[in-house]
Amino acid sequence: MPNSQKSSSNALKKKTIDSQSFQMFFVLIGMCVIMTILYPPFIRMANLINVIRQISITAIIGMGVTMCIITTGIDLSSGSVVALAGVVAASFGKGDYPLILPIILALIAGAACGFINGSLSAYGKIPPFIATLGMMSIARGAALIYSDGRPITGLSDAFNFIGGGYILGIPMPVIIMIIVGIIMYVLLNHTKFGKYVYAIGGNQRAAVASGINVKKYLVIIYTLASVLAALAGIILAARLNAGQPTAGVSYELDAIASSVIGGTSLTGGIGTIPGVIIGALIIGVLTNGLVLLGVSPYIQTILKGVIIIAAVLIDALRRNRG
């Protein structure tokens, strides 16, 4: 039922955003309360900032993946793109190159991967699952070749600032995540592009019939998703003070999990930026909390799986009811 209080053009969509993200938001708050009771130092500002910084990389990747999932696609190549962008950035992040150079080159490397993903999916009619699975392998190989299998180290302080610096006490990765989050939120909610993304996910044929150049937009969506993964790769390299060709393994799965926990529906058309961030925070709080409590890492893995399944189950039940 459309919510009459909302004056937005797409009231139904807004309502689903509210209910889903809201439920997960309360789950997050609930987890924080439980953690604080079990282990009071959890709630200290320093620890909370620490958690937000830890999830910022996953959240940035997740925002791109969410866009793909909204269009009923997926992006499995993000973890490998993180590694490729990381080694490309690191190779220019030392010496006397201006700081903008490693950033631009790494983002271009990411964009190239995403452009191929999108073109194969849209024009080659290869399912995105397969196209990006291929890219997952190709980008990882490219990262290993580029770096000769070795980490690239000796990065400049200016470069490392991207991952390890602070502005007004806020870690750089968090600042970047917030900026990216705002841009992506505006892009998805207040532009023609965003409207098309949801339209393609809701009903691709209808989108074509209504004159949207679906193929073109799919290429843009996948390119943007990989650019975000590349950005995450730059941050990771700066944070680790090294571009590692083996970095980012299974990051795509964490990003997809964040997206799904945050209410993105794999059947398409539904998903929000605040949702992904909440999803990433839920995983982050869980990981941080369990380490603080000294719980075995095996149990952590199981709990993560339970939360992912529970989130999708809630989504499925709601859909059946509605």
Partner: protein, 333 residues
């Protein structure tokens, strides 16, 4: 019905596959020529050329990259022997198929760094059954008696060196945290065993935290960050490898605790040596990756020439403190 565009895409797809195959084959050629040295240009009697399969667990692992550097340097001395390097990508099943291929091909010897010693048992049986001499490197096999020799280091010893030097630095008392490798990996089990053996001698050293970070720098960083946010009082961190030690160091720097906590790892990677030199890592333990690689090739060559080989060739671990950094850095050049 296929559209023109569709047909064009099909052609492009096939062309790409053909291109990749050509590229793949040609790189194979170049890699084996570099291994064979100059001799390959005039080898008409290819049938007489001996072949050694080298099964490596993971080409993308730092330590193994350096180990292969040692192998390739040594292999260049023997242009009459072809060394075929295989990457199992850390998958025991892939390695099993590679071993089966080697057996089918009838290679003259196999050097193997097993992905998983447990899963390697049947494939070693198979190769031994086909009378192919086996040289295990870095990780001792469970059915080592089937192999000619083991070239590697004693992981337990590395744990002992790590913990006993740390205990000395702590004057025998304090709180430590341990960053472990992936549970179940041979070095994780044995390095931890070495650490625990030493800890028994120091009742005043308490282990206040103990987590696995899967050998990764980023995971270790996440774990250490959480430790520093907890109420735990940590005087020192010992890590099963340098990557995790560096992760802990970066987290400590971030938390403003870098000077107060002693951190050390194992491997003496070039980057870890830099941090030891700067005094940020307390010390590291050198595992001679290149030495193990060279030793394995040497052993294989001896086997092919019918010379006797010892049952175990142990390359010792060595403690690397700040004053010895230069000496160890030279080993990578």
């Amino acid at each position: 019905m296929k559209s023109k565009k569709g047909r064009l895409l099909t052609i492009i797809a096939w062309a790409l596959i053909a291109l990749m195959l050509m590229v793949g084959c040609s790189t194979d050629d170049t890699s084996s020529t570099t291994q064979n040295g100059e001799a390959s240009s005039d080898n008409n009697e290819q049938g007489e050329k001996k072949k050694v399969g080298v099964l490596i667990a993971d080409f993308s692992d730092q330590f193994q990259v350096y180990m292969m550097d040692g192998m390739k340097e040594e292999a260049e001395k023997y242009p009459d022997i072809e060394f075929s390097f295989q990457d199992a990508k850390y998958d025991a099943n892939t390695q099993m198929s590679q071993m089966e291929n080697m057996v089918a091909e009838g290679v003259d010897a196999v050097i193997v760094m097993p992905v998983d010693v447990q899963a390697a048992v049947p494939m070693i049986d198979k190769a031994a059954g086909a009378n192919i001499p086996i040289i295990s490197v870095n990780r001792k096999l469970l059915n080592q008696e089937k192999a000619v020799t083991y070239v590697g280091s004693d992981s337990v010893e590395s744990g002992r060196i790590l913990m006993s030097h740390m205990a000395e630095l702590l004057d025998g008392k304090g709180n430590i945290a341990i960053l472990e490798g992936t549970q179940g990996h041979e070095p994780q089990i044995n390095r931890q065993k070495g650490i625990e053996e030493v800890l028994e001698e120091y009742p005043d050293i308490k282990v206040v935290a103990d987590q696995s970070a899967d050998w990764y720098r980023d995971k270790a960083m996440t774990v250490a960050e959480s430790w520093f946010q907890s109420t735990l009082d940590i005087d020192a961190i010992v890590a099963h490898n340098d990557e995790m030690a560096i992760g802990a160091l970066l987290a400590a720097k971030d938390a403003g605790k870098a000077g107060d906590i002693l951190i050390a790892g194992i491997d003496a990677t070039p980057e870890a040596l830099d941090y030891v030199e700067k005094g940020e890592l307390a010390f590291t333990v050198f595992q001679d990756a290149k030495g193990q690689g060279r030793g394995a090739i040497d052993a294989a060559v001896k086997v092919l020439n019918g010379e006797p080989v010892e049952k175990e060739i142990i390359i010792p671990y060595e403690l690397v403190t700040k004053d010895k950094v230069a000496e160890y850095r030279a080993k990578y050049e």
